[in-house]
Amino acid sequence: MSFSISLIVNGSPCDVELDDPRVTLLDLLRERLQLTGTKKGCDRGQCGACTVIVDGRRINSCLALAVSHDGADLLTIEGVATGDRLHPVQAAFITHDGLQCGFCTPGQIMSAIGLIQEGHAADDPERVREGMSGNLCRCGAYAGITEAVLDATAAMALTDRRRSA
């Protein structure tokens, strides 16, 4: 039996046939859509490496079944930059060295974008640390990650203000 679902992935509509209802969103992205930027660190919802944004909310894609996301709007690390212009969060991760090996980085960045959209963290480092605590970084780049999120939040708020002014 096969299941067909339609998704919007990084702005482009995409129809997928699934032969197995157990396929996760993560495996769909990595194995069927060749979007390997999203990482699998545990496949159990415990590391955050697979974080993507679905309908505006950050989720662990390894815990989400693809079939139950028919019609969903997905944003992955591959869709974050605009052409060769990095998203402010991506740029801030480079400036603040919010990464070492870089394996957790796509998940951290997606999580940061989600956190900033949620609007609770703002300029409070404690809240940023709390808000980013679903994303493990064994290289210990947490200091850089926290600074990057704070910096990007400020930069994005500034752009928003400029836009609305």
């Binding site: 591959e78 060295d97 394996f103 709390e130 200091a143």
Partner: protein, 750 residues
């Protein structure tokens, strides 16, 4: 030829060359590639801690539609147990049995067979169809059980003091005569400590993708701390010559020592060879936790004696380290590093390598040294207390310096240990007041650091830029640091230097990314290669100007006449010389291979503040400063990153991480939920102080920096907890249940 530099790039935290790829998801890690016709491999693992394998029937698995190949130990080259074949520090007798169980399965998770099939699901199903006839044997997990006289023996051929034993080795380091030393001591502290096995915890699971052509030509794409190690081990275990194996290093998603040996590559190679299809294998997190790494659990007894004025006169340590199922625990690091920061006349340090039915341990950041330092640095804290001396003053009084004969053998050249203690003492942190239920602890640590074989090519592109090819996976920012070194020597912008990691068939042999050796060794080879390139460029300019090559100097990216006598010529830039290269003798480049010598050990001193929640038993690290003699910080940002990363791992080891075994001899917490590594909110911002005492034996003064920062951490945390609660912990981790238990015991005693 003269080279003039003004250190424009060395010492700068330049923008990392791999940054954009890593923030956009383009960086290709081991599991991120495919090959046409690719199929999936899966490992069948032993459920038993200890069992003789009487037979394996793979026929049902082979008959399952979609299954393309099955391999067992029969397909892996056997190294007989009575003859050691070493590859670096690994013995192939154990490696061949670790990648695939042969006579016996020795830990839960030990591979017994592997399958390749058209999907992961079919491969997993096929594994279930393999019938293994096990004779289940008694087992032991803990050191205390494994060394009992009647303990079940893992390897019957292994004897210790004439009898079959689980003690696989002993090493002893001796300086002076400890009996004589202790006779002079006025204060002696002796304590026993235990630590639990902890995993390196890299977020990227082991993975590989391997294709084998009909002619045997093999391509390996995998993530490791050494593509040459992957090639050599795979060659030895499959019989394919090294010249036919091209091992391509993927980006590595963390290793910390744990990716210095192979697990999957030989199996995937044999599956690919048998099936004629490229095979991809990716471990699950549970497989990573059960069958790879971790580092040893340990039991250590340390005794230190001093005179009343605080001079240490004798020290003795006995370190029992778990090796897991095969010999090779890091006793050298534990016994050899623990007393090295100090000038002690009489030292006896003994390490025992203990087998048990756990996965074979792998290197973990300064292997063994953090275990030894935990014991020694906690005893020093008690000694300081007994002597009523500030703990850093005690260390300063006994600090090793230039000329000190280290307990592990060498006589130190100029080292920076004293400077680290002084910097810690003078830090604002050390003087800051503490709050209620807060405590402060200090500890020092040492790691050998390593040199060894490295190769590099420096090539000038036709458009006048530079490509540097080296042979070690970049795990801590080495590409950026090497670009700084090369750009500095050439006097050009670092962005004109592109550093890439070559595969095994395109660059000369380069040893592992391990032992904190990479920047030390590769900066040395890249320096020599760059100097050769500069010499060639100067010769070319001399030819154009028709003057003596000795009369040409290289400065700020261009050849220039060395002085007024050399003649008056406008400078020739790298770009101009590259343009003229075809007419002047051809491409400009150099290749250098060295067995680098002169790596000097590294020292660190840490200050840690904790706060204890006495109701919940939670210890929080609220402030942390790591001071280290880093030789020369070629890229300070990455040096700081290494220090912060090491401290983070140490805090996990001290407070929350441990392998928990159940009554069936199996790991009960093989995932990130119950094996608790620090998350962002668990750690404070970690401050670093970089002390730079250049290594006199290195062109840029480089010392390894990556491993030292883990060494002092557990002791610094434990000493801080004692300072907060007045209660000492001799066992790690100091997790909430254990802290609560200790507080209750203390309360009951009152």
């Amino acid at each position: 030829m003269n080279v003039v530099t003004n250190n424009k790039w060395i010492g700068q935290s330049t923008i990392r060359p791999d940054g954009v790829d890593k923030v956009t998801g383009r960086a290709a890690f081991a599991a991120d590639t495919t090959m046409p016709g690719m199929i999936w491999g899966k490992v069948l693992r032993s459920p038993h801690p200890h069992a003789r394998i009487r037979g394996i029937d793979t026929s049902k698995a082979e008959a399952l539609p979609g299954v393309k190949a099955v391999v067992t130990a029969k397909d892996i080259v056997e190294f007989p147990v009575d003859k050691s074949v070493m590859l670096g520090i690994q013995d192939m007798r154990w490696m061949c049995r670790n990648v695939m169980a042969r006579e016996k399965a020795l830990f839960p998770g030990h591979p017994v067979a592997a399958v390749a099939a058209t999907s992961e699901a079919i491969a997993a199903k096929a594994c279930e169809l393999i019938e293994v006839d096990y004779e289940v044997l008694p087992w032991s997990i803990e050191i205390e059980d494994a060394i009992k006289p009647d303990a079940p023996i893992l390897h019957e051929f292994n004897t210790f003091e004439g009898k079959p034993s689980n003690i696989a080795g002993k090493m002893e380091l001796k300086k002076g005569d400890v009996a004589e030393g202790f006779a002079r001591a006025e204060v002696v502290v002796e304590r026993t400590f235990t630590t639990r096995a902890v995993h390196q915890g890299y977020i990227e699971p082991h993975a590989c993708l391997i294709g084998v052509g009909a002619d045997g030509k093999t391509t390996i794409w995998s993530s490791s701390q050494g593509q040459f190690m992957v090639r050599a081990m795979t060659s030895l275990l499959t019989g394919i010559p090294q010249s036919d194996i091209r091992a391509i290093p993927a980006e590595i998603g963390g290793g910390f020592g744990g990716k210095t040996i192979v697990y999957l590559e030989p199996l995937a190679t044999m599956l690919a060879k048998k099936s004629g299809r490229p095979v991809k294998m990716v471990m699950t997190r549970e497989e990573v936790m059960r069958a790879t790494g971790p580092t040893s659990a340990s039991t250590s007894t340390v005794k230190i004696g001093a005179t009343k004025d605080g001079k240490i006169v004798a020290a003795q340590g006995t370190f029992y380290l778990q090796a897991g199922a095969f010999p090779g625990s890091p006793i050298r690091g534990a016994a050899g590093c623990s007393f090295s920061p100090y000038d002690i006349p009489h030292v006896l340090s003994i390490g025992y390598d203990v087998l048990s039915n756990r996965s074979k341990v792998a290197a973990y950041r300064a292997p063994g040294a953090p275990i030894g330092a935990f014991a020694v640095e906690c005893v020093l804290d008690e000694l300081a207390e007994a002597l009523k001396i500030d703990p850093l003053a005690l260390r300063l009084k006994n600090a090793a310096k230039e000329g000190t004969k280290a307990s592990h053998g060498p006589v130190y050249p100029r080292i920076g240990y004293v400077e680290t203690v002084e910097a810690a003492m003078n830090s604002e942190h050390y003087k800051a007041p503490l709050g209620k239920l807060q405590g402060r602890g200090v500890a020092s640590g040492f790691w050998f650091n390593a040199g060894g074989e490295s190769s590099a090519q420096v090539n000038i592109t036709e458009d006048g830029n530079v490509v540097v090819t080296t042979g070690h996976p970049d795990i801590g920012g080495s590409r950026a640091a090497i670009a700084n070194v090369c750009a500095e020597l050439l006097g050009i912008d670092y962005r004109r230097v592109s550093v890439i990691i070559g595969d095994t068939q395109t660059v000369g042999f380069s040893n592992l990314t391990g032992g904190s050796r990479v920047l030390f060794a590769s900066a040395m080879v890249v320096t020599q290669a760059t100097e050769q390139v500069i010499a060639t460029l100067c010769k070319r300019a001399a030819k154009i100007w028709e003057i003596d090559p000795e009369a040409v100097t290289w400065e700020e990216g261009a050849a220039r006449p060395a002085g007024a006598n050399a003649g008056k010529f406008p400078p020739l830039t790298l770009k101009e010389l590259a343009d003229k290269a075809p007419a002047l003798g051809g491409p400009v480049g150099a290749s250098v291979q060295l067995n680098t010598q002169g790596a000097e050990g590294g020292f660190g001193t840490h200050v840690c503040d904790v706060e204890v929640d006495v109701d919940l038993g939670i210890v929080r690290v609220v402030r942390y400063t790591a001071v280290q003699d880093v030789g020369r910080a070629v890229h300070p940002g990455y040096v700081e990153g290494q220090l912060q990363g090491g401290v983070g791992q140490g805090i996990g080891w001290a407070l929350s991480e441990e392998y928990i075994y159940n009554k069936d001899g199996k790991v009960d917490n093989p995932g990130f939920l119950d094996y608790r590594m620090p998350v962002c909110s668990d750690l404070p911002m970690i401050d670093t102080i970089l002390v730079e005492v250049p290594n006199p034996k290195h062109p840029q003064g480089v010392k390894g920096v990556g491993e030292v920062p883990l060494v002092p951490v557990m002791a610094a945390v434990a000493n801080a907890v004692h300072n907060a609660l007045g209660k000492r912990f001799y066992a790690l981790p100091m997790s909430p249940p254990k802290v609560l238990e200790a507080l209750e015991v203390a309360q009951a005693a009152e």
